[in-house]
Symmetry: C2
Subunit: 424 residues, 2 copies
Amino acid sequence: MTDKNLFQRRERAFGTGAPTFYDVPLELVRGEGIYLFDSDGNRYVDMYNNVESVGHGNPVVVEAMADQQRRLNVHSRYLHPGPVEFAERLAALHTADVESVVFTCSGSEANEVALQLVRTATGKRGIVCSNATYHGNTEALLQLVHAPHEPAACPEIRAIPFPETYRPLDPDHPGADAYLARLSEAIDSLERAGVGFAGVIFCSIFANEGLPDIPDGFMSRATDMVRAAGGLVIADEVQAGYGRAGTWWGYQSTQLTPDVVVTGKAMGNGLPLAAAAASKSLVDQFRSATHYFNTCAATPLQSAVGMAVLDVIEDEGLIAAASEVGAGLKEALSERRAGRDWIGDVRGRGLFIAVEMVTDSATKQPDRARAVELVNRLKDRGYLTSNAGAYSNVVKIRPPLVLSADQARGFIDAFDDVLDHIDG
Amino acid sequence: MTDKNLFQRRERAFGTGAPTFYDVPLELVRGEGIYLFDSDGNRYVDMYNNVESVGHGNPVVVEAMADQQRRLNVHSRYLHPGPVEFAERLAALHTADVESVVFTCSGSEANEVALQLVRTATGKRGIVCSNATYHGNTEALLQLVHAPHEPAACPEIRAIPFPETYRPLDPDHPGADAYLARLSEAIDSLERAGVGFAGVIFCSIFANEGLPDIPDGFMSRATDMVRAAGGLVIADEVQAGYGRAGTWWGYQSTQLTPDVVVTGKAMGNGLPLAAAAASKSLVDQFRSATHYFNTCAATPLQSAVGMAVLDVIEDEGLIAAASEVGAGLKEALSERRAGRDWIGDVRGRGLFIAVEMVTDSATKQPDRARAVELVNRLKDRGYLTSNAGAYSNVVKIRPPLVLSADQARGFIDAFDDVLDHIDG
């Protein structure tokens, strides 16, 4: 039974307004694989959580965690083979030039390291980001969120429109050119202002922006432009990485070539664990300038859990599975657009799919209320999603990588039920 | 056997210069209670680590961690009684006005929240800190480290000399007045510059500064001065709290009265877990202004582990024990000053003791090399410490709270052996 006072107690214990999901928040008590169970005994298929990517309560992860915490868990100023081996394994998984790793306890901390790293290496301060992004909750990272709305208060940041084909910046000339022109202007503006240009930070798949289809050539040409201007490219892979997009790293699916790669969320299946990785030469400069230390990062516990997650992904072939199951799911969802003018677009890569709600396909006016309605109705039918995107009008489908094809079909059935209700 | 290539592999995997302890870094393989074991089978008494405060491999913590990770571990936008109950227990342990808690994954993240909280509540940006402090590794927090050396680059920060009786700021008028005058000037300077004064951030026991004996009245008068100027007081309890100083919170041992309390390290016994706590009204303002969310914080895993740590501290009476064993240890170390002009001072509270090395008691010139020598010789005798303080000339003694009186006597015997060698 739900403790009816729990929400009120929570408002006091966390402060009023700590965020919750759904019109009626869900009290969860247990998780197993793809399933979550609430306090009334209802079972849900988790179509949302990218942290518990190898499954809720995964026994390989639980055992690695308990064994290591029992044996030894200390900070990184002693030597231990675990974090070293984990860093080596991560580096070997990259096609970008990544050799050395700075472990942290959160994606925010890792993106902080990435900013400090590119600023140290270039001796410049200016960062270009997208205008509907989120990279973390520190003051330095919140500048990236605030820049589009309060540019004068964020003199070291320039936000450019995120690249997309659905609502092209220049409808008369859709494609990468208009976005690249904005990137070029942003770089020039930072240089002219005396801030200097240190680099760009992009989510490799623009997850918070709503998973746009990216105009052909934007990512590779942006990479070239940044390098030519003396800047560095940060790929935020906190959401995009770890097989989410059907490739090990999101940047491999979008032709971004990063100098710094930031990972988090899925790395620890719930244990706080994140990292910024780059060439040894870049990390050396960062280490030398900052003497960075992070008490609970690069520990035997983080590495034991982190390597258990890698083992599961590799042993169970989860990336190929995510690619295949995700493709089927995306195709099925795309078919639901037929005869429904208000499903504006279906986009995505691997097991990360966005279904965009609009008032009509001509104006493409975002319809947040419709997305919220779908999310709540799907929950009532036992499928957990959420809404997101630049206009919060996107149903965000991002299940653990262990979702089976059968479970995906079950989701489509529930989606059809909800559509029938709305159509009716 | 030690992997002889481990250090070289680590330099590549972490980048050159990732910090290590001791002239010959120690490869640890196992921990149990107060003991740590290296890869050659040697046993050490841990006289340093404040994270594994209830003992290495503590079975109550291991079991709570494994059970919860097996059952459920999800982010905080669902309801779960664990984090709510944990916040309630933490709030109840405070004598300061603390009702609501913002959980994070690291002390850095929690100090970031604290800065954002006081800046949001006051609408001002200026922060006063001490001139030999460390509160975390984000850009905003590193300003507190850089302010004494590059004040022009840190316009929102004023650093004042940390209060101490050993090397008083005004030797002709020792006591709190000289330090309070600096605090007053710093506040005025922030207001005059148009930055405005948001508050102070102090470690409640000035741990990084070298655990100074604080001039009588400084903390309480500083609190009054800050409040009178419309500012808020942040107590950084990441090192000072959780029984370390022989009281639940360091501020209770130094008469600081905080508005915001930041905790970390010992909270999770190795699990990344930290928090900023304050009155509900302050946290409400922060929540409303920032919509703060932290993916791996305020989770069932954090709360299960966090409450297991509280259980052990309470069930085993570790705070009273730390107070008693620490007092004996401090007294014994103080006695070693007799006839040794180069042991300048012995200070501390509870199980946190600083032994300050100087060239001679007249000049009090810091002798870092002597501190480093002691630390390395103590390690060779099976006792792990480190050096720290404003001049890095302090032997820092800060064992897990489970240190017994017998083990403390063993440390004194080893300390005597090292002193004999140096005296000889």
